[in-house]
Symmetry: C2
Subunit: 130 residues, 2 copies
DNA sequence: TAATTAACGCGACTATGTTGCAATAGCAAA
DNA sequence: TTTGCTATTGCAACATAGTCGCGTTAATTA
């Protein structure tokens, strides 16, 4: 089952790369010039996620966000970092610091999902009337 | 708008306290002896969450989990800890270690949501055929 | 150029969570 | 105890996210 290169796939990847943010399906669809179906976008994103091309993060709003893996090599994927979700502008950014959480004896971690939500600096300032 | 004490509310709280886990709506409803409506359970849980009686955590499965605040005082709520979700037995436990994540300058955090999923020690053993 | 099949579009479906509204039932005051 | 106020509930409808089956399209390779 080898992968094929399609226009929709290319555009989704371009959008993710260029934004530098973690985007959800809706944000991506808004930025698409192609009229790609919702289901297809989900399939593309999940494929990317499986292939280790993007991170998948579930926000505290329950939505799935996808971000291009900029710091990952093909050997090691570093997903143990937090994301910050601004509840005003909706941007989800990556907080680079890798961190390790001590699990109880015998627990086997598979997926790390850390999200902090609040106001990003830009929206903080705007709220304070600057 | 003062709160009233109802049987459904009592039972939900009892279930949360007694289980010691973070439970989602479905898990709670299964354990209820009363025939309480789904919407009501959600309303109860959100009320508890607003009142600081329970933590609300969104899992990497996108579902809302609620856990009784055992370590919180009325002054300080400590929600900056991870939860572990076992993808086998579905249990969500609280990992006590409080931790602090360094945010970029000017960012204002409001909600912390950290979930690690994988296999808990019990399910690890079972999978290894012990 | 033709064959193979990955990827797509469409529609239907599931599940989670929320909301409006009329009915019910805590709680406090009489 | 009774009465009145209104928080809470049940029901139904709704919104949204995400998935899946299936027939069609188009990327790749021979």
């Amino acid at each position: 089952m080898s992968r094929r290169n399609t226009k929709s796939q290319q555009e989704v990847l371009d959008i993710l790369k260029q934004s530098g943010l973690a985007l959800n399906h809706e944000m991506i669809q808004e930025q698409m010039s192609l009229n790609t179906d919702r289901a297809t976008i989900y399939r593309i994103l999940n494929r990317f996620s499986q292939d280790g091309i993007v991170h998948k993060v579930v926000g505290d709003d329950g939505k799935q966000y996808f971000a291009f893996c900029s710091n990952c090599t093909k050997d090691g994927h570093q997903h143990n970092h937090f994301h910050f979700r601004c509840i005003e502008c909706q941007n989800v950014i990556c907080i680079k610091n890798e961190l390790r959480v001590q699990l109880p004896e015998g627990y086997e971690p598979i997926n790390f999902n850390g999200v902090i939500s609040g106001y990003c600096s830009k929206c903080c300032k705007q709220r304070n009337g600057v």
